[in-house]
């Protein structure tokens, strides 16, 4: 039994890191643009589907791994500039528009990719023994990519000029603009970066999940829970909450069904919302 728990905990941790990556994208977009991007899960889904398509045509996972985040960046930039910019003043309208985007993305994928779930072969294809089980090396690789991407994102935010601008706009938009920060460009880059993170999460997760057009509907609530528990717009808190939650759910599935584990997360979220609406990591705010 305890061996199973270790494996499940490990799985939870890997998945938590991927969710953290996606939720960071959601959180940064909210933090700067005040958009609750309900299409965020669908960007993740498009990432997995594009990964599948690129592997289907080229037979190489690594091409997808490089290209998909770039496509995500371009797609995000176009959507921010073309669709979100004109209605940026109203938070509610952006949510409705994001829902429209979600419909378009899901239906486009269903029309082209089909509605049958597909699987992607493990691109590394090696396993190593751990507590009597054979564990896929790829999962560790996925966790590594997520860690590097999250670390890189925070380095970008804190060590580069552009990252400092982003934090400045988030803190006080008017003042930042008065100081000559190009806020419009920052909005584009932020949305593009958030989308790119979701699609990177999609590529990385593609080999360990099934690929289908409804995938976003599962991932989005998970990200939402992480964002609420971590504190809306609190980036380190969001990442920590995502990892913690997935880890907790992973361990719990050793004893109860996945549904009950998810319900436990939801109960935790409700408690946080009622008792600490600013999130449990409010003091650690960056």
């Amino acid at each position: 039994m305890s061996e199973v728990i270790i494996i499940l905990a490990l799985n939870g941790l890997v998945w938590g890191l991927i969710i953290a990556l996606i939720a960071l994208g959601l959180s940064i977009i909210f933090g700067l643009l005040e958009i609750i991007n309900v299409a965020h899960g669908d960007f993740f889904m498009v990432g997995t589907v594009l990964a599948w398509a690129i592997i289907y045509f080229t037979g190489n996972f690594w091409i997808a791994f490089i290209i998909v985040p770039l496509i995500g960046f371009a797609l995000g930039a176009m959507i921010e500039r073309g669709v979100m910019r004109p209605i940026e003043h109203s938070a509610d309208l952006t949510i409705v528009v994001a829902f429209g985007l979600s419909l378009i993305l899901q239906e486009s994928v269903r029309a082209t990719f089909g509605s049958t779930p597909q699987r992607i072969l493990d691109p590394i294809g090696k396993t190593f023994p751990i507590v009597g089980f054979q564990y896929e090396v790829y999962r560790l690789f996925a966790a590594g990519v997520a860690i590097v991407a999250i670390a890189g994102f925070f380095l970008f935010l804190h060590k580069t000029k552009f990252g400092t601008w982003m934090r400045a706009v988030r803190q006080d938009r008017e003042m930042a603009i008065a100081m000559g920060v190009p806020a419009d460009r920052i909005y584009i880059v932020t949305f593009a970066l958030g989308t790119s993170l979701a699609m990177l999460g999609g590529v990385v997760a593609a080999p360990i999940t099934s690929v289908e057009f409804r995938l976003g509907l599962d991932v989005l609530p998970m990200c939402f829970i992480a964002v609420i528990i971590g504190g809306l717009g609190n980036l380190p808190g969001t990442a920590a909450a995502a990892i913690l939650l997935a880890f907790m759910e992973g361990v719990m599935t050793a004893y109860v069904e996945p549904t009950s584990a998810r319900i436990a997360s939801l109960v935790l979220m409700s408690a946080v919302l009622l008792l600490r609406p600013q999130g449990i990591f409010a003091k650690a705010r960056a």
Binding site: I36, V97, Q106, I228, T259, L273
Partner: protein, 314 residues
Amino acid sequence: MLLFAGIPVAALLLLPMVLAEFQRIFVAEIFIWGLFAMSFALVYGYGGMLSFAQAVFFGAGCYGFNLGTFYYGFNTWGAIISAVVAAIALAAPIGLIATRARSHHFLIVTVIFSVLVYMILSSGHWRWIAGPYVTRSLTFVPEVPLGFVTLSYSNEIVVYYFTLAFVTLTVGLCALFVSSPFGRALVAQKDNEMRAQLIGLNIILLRFTVFVVAAAVAGLSGALYALLARYTNLEFFSWSYSGLAVVMAVIGGVNSLIGPFIGTAIYMVAAEHLSRYFESFTILIGIILILVVRYTPMGVWGLIQIFLKKASGA
């Protein structure tokens, strides 16, 4: 203005005469889904709360209807009441938590509660709830007992007028509700929360009340649907159905009670015809939604009102 109101009412009353049988059912379905979309307009257009939980209450209405017929052998009236009660019973605890959440949190909380309810029902536990959905009541006869006469629901004229009567009554009650002092206070807290608070309005109570009222309306639409279609589906609980209410209400105009019905009619007629030529018409719906939000946030009903004003002024 009375003329403008009189024409559509007369048209709706006379409409079945020019419709074929299946079209009468189709129009009745528009009333039902329109009522569902209107419940979203109540919460969002009047209450200022962007709710993605309306489908939960529609689903609760469907299930409540079937639970009433299955366990208690209710007739149509009793089943409709049990549907509304089920929706309210579910809305009260969700509303207690959700209405405390600020604007952005509120949306997230409603999405997450939809997911929660959907997950519990699809998990296979709680079969006493899911049971009537799989094995429906054998004794329930879809008919409308009026005391002196009993109308059979297999007659689509009955379906049409019964649905129309219920929907008209509900819209009328909701119109009274939103034009009452309570409704004014509701819009006041939506437009300027701090000011509403300063003049002494109990904002949480206002929000909670409209949340529950809208849930009851959504539950009623679920009951009417279950009665008409003799069918329920777990999918009705999923938040993509809540999204449908958002789409239909926003296209029609979310700041009125009539707009959602117009939006629903547009959506359903478009869906009916477009899906014949283009299977993925939802892509078009998404594009239309984005264009409506961008260019006419008041929706189609807003445009009609502007047109009517110009026409009556000229």
